[in-house]
Amino acid sequence: MSKASTSTTSKISSFVLMIIFVTLALSLTALILALYAFPQNPEAAGYLLLIGFLGVGLSTYVLLQTRRRILRLRIEATSITTTIECKKCGFKSLREFQRGDYIFKEVEPCQKCNDKMLITAIFREIKGKRKEGFPS
């Protein structure tokens, strides 16, 4: 069921893409035509120029829009850090989260004193914090 539906989604997007490219091609043709028509009929050339620029502008805009939407659709993977501490000697190490980790889990023995180590923290850090701009 899901397979079929994903293929329709991609079909729709490729259809839209085709329209965009056709528009782009047509407007580029209009621009070239304007160039040729300019010596004989400057007025018509002006209209063609207008249409050409409008078409190019519009299709690039839509193209950028769809691209942005695709980028936004991807769910970003966050990195989760696990902090392991030795209660005895204070040795501390950080690593990527692994399935099965939990806070206050006893893990492999300490490299220094061979005592059991403990997971003391699991969190994700958000880099490049955005300030919510309004004074309190």
């Binding site: 899901s2 007025e43 659709l73 099965g100 939990y102 889990k105 923290a121 969190f123």
Partner: protein, 380 residues
């Protein structure tokens, strides 16, 4: 009207161009045509624009929902080691529904609600066991939470699709409008559920577990015993007082029935409890900082209200004062992997609790400290 002036200016500009008789006439007719179309069909055009917007979000929702379903099935296959393909079972599970009790006569509705929720929980656990036979209790709880998140995503998608199709069918501006208006909030919620699903599938602690983390930090290193239902309690000396620290039993995804646990402890002590302090994550308003602490009174428990009701009932019986410390976060933080700010707030919350204990109780008093929240990824 803005468009009108623009059209007029454009028209006069073009009419002034040299030698454009026939062409400019055609153009002016075109402009009038557009103008008339806008007068009569403006609202309809607006409606189509809204429909397009809803459609775009619907595509996104579908993507999120399908990803969630995929993650769920993969996780079940990975840790559950099922003999058969769990896909059909998962798909059937996603359609499960729960009918809440009739509240026309509200007396006793809490117990009915509790009963229904108990049945639901038992049914879900059975279902997970069937889907993934090789899981231990922790993993069963995590998978149950994962499936619930997938279910929520499925439901949101279906509701938005319903209104989208209904709007398309009836072409009623108001049906489309009401869904378009709440769409930003719905999308936020869906994104929150999507990240929750990931966290549940991996067993990572989530922001909602802030209260449980405070409980775990307080009780670590002390002897623990189980109390009904799915909770642990340990007796911790704090500033010369005896504190019964309660939290849901981790590290599986579980919120426990804190209401029952607190009631049990109160009854064990025959009501001789000087104070109850509850710690929970709470919804922040936009503009407030993540991990901000606030203090107040009342039973700080989320969920369907059964636990809050029970706690209020039992403290009323013995007139026990109740205080609450909340850690603020928004819905996205509450269900996605715990942020550093929230993790750090747990230590500050402990300081705050000690302060309250010193100010509001005497030496030798007994008190209850309850860390509320989903304890996924947090042991004790």
């Amino acid at each position: 009207m803005d468009t009108l002036t623009v059209i007029n200016i454009l028209q006069s500009e073009i009419l002034q161009w040299p030698g454009g008789d026939a062409f400019s006439q055609i153009l002016s007719i075109l402009f009038y045509a557009i103008f008339i179309v806008f007068i009569f069909y403006g609202q309809r055009i607006q409606m189509y624009v809204m429909l397009r917007e809803v459609e775009g979000s619907l595509h996104k929702l579908k993507y999120i929902k399908d990803e969630g379903r995929k993650t769920t099935i993969e996780t079940i296959k990975e840790i559950g080691k099922p003999q058969t393909d769990p896909t059909t079972r998962v798909d059937r599970f996603l359609e499960y529904f729960t009918l809440l009790p009739q509240s026309l006569d509200p007396a006793g509705v809490v117990w009915k609600l509790e009963h229904i929720l108990d049945i639901r929980d038992a049914r879900f656990k059975d279902e997970v066991k069937l889907m993934a036979p090789a899981t231990d209790e922790t993993q069963t709880n995590n998978l149950e939470n994962t499936l619930e998140a997938a279910m929520a995503l499925n439901y949101i998608y279906k509701i938005i699709r319903h209104f989208y199709l209904l709007g398309k069918k009836t072409l009623s501006l108001y049906i489309i409008m009401q869904i378009q208006m709440i769409l930003p909030l719905v999308m936020r919620e869906a994104e929150a559920y999507a990240s929750a699903l990931k966290a549940f599938a991996y067993g990572q602690p989530i922001g909602d577990g802030a209260g449980a983390l405070v409980g775990a930090k307080l009780m670590y290193g002390h002897e623990k015993r189980k109390v009904p239902k799915d909770c642990v309690v340990s007796t911790v000396p704090i500033e010369g007082r005896t504190a019964y620290v309660v939290k849901a039993e981790g590290p599986g995804g579980n919120v426990g029935k804190t209401g029952d646990a607190i009631k049990t402890i109160i009854e064990e002590n025959e009501g001789k409890i000087a104070m109850i302090i509850m710690i929970d994550a709470a919804m922040k308003l936009e503009g407030e900082e993540v991990g901000e602490l606030a203090e107040g009174v009342g039973a700080a428990v989320g969920g369907p209200g059964v636990d809050q009701f029970k706690i209020e009932e039992s403290i009323l019986k013995y007139r026990i004062p109740i205080n609450a410390v909340i850690i603020k976060e928004d819905i996205g933080d509450a269900v996605s992997p715990m942020r550093k700010e929230i993790f750090d707030a747990a230590d500050m919350a402990i300081e705050r609790i000690k302060q309250v204990v010193l100010e509001k109780t005497k030496e030798g008093d007994k008190l209850i400290i309850a860390g509320i929240g989903n304890t996924i990824g947090i042991g004790q």
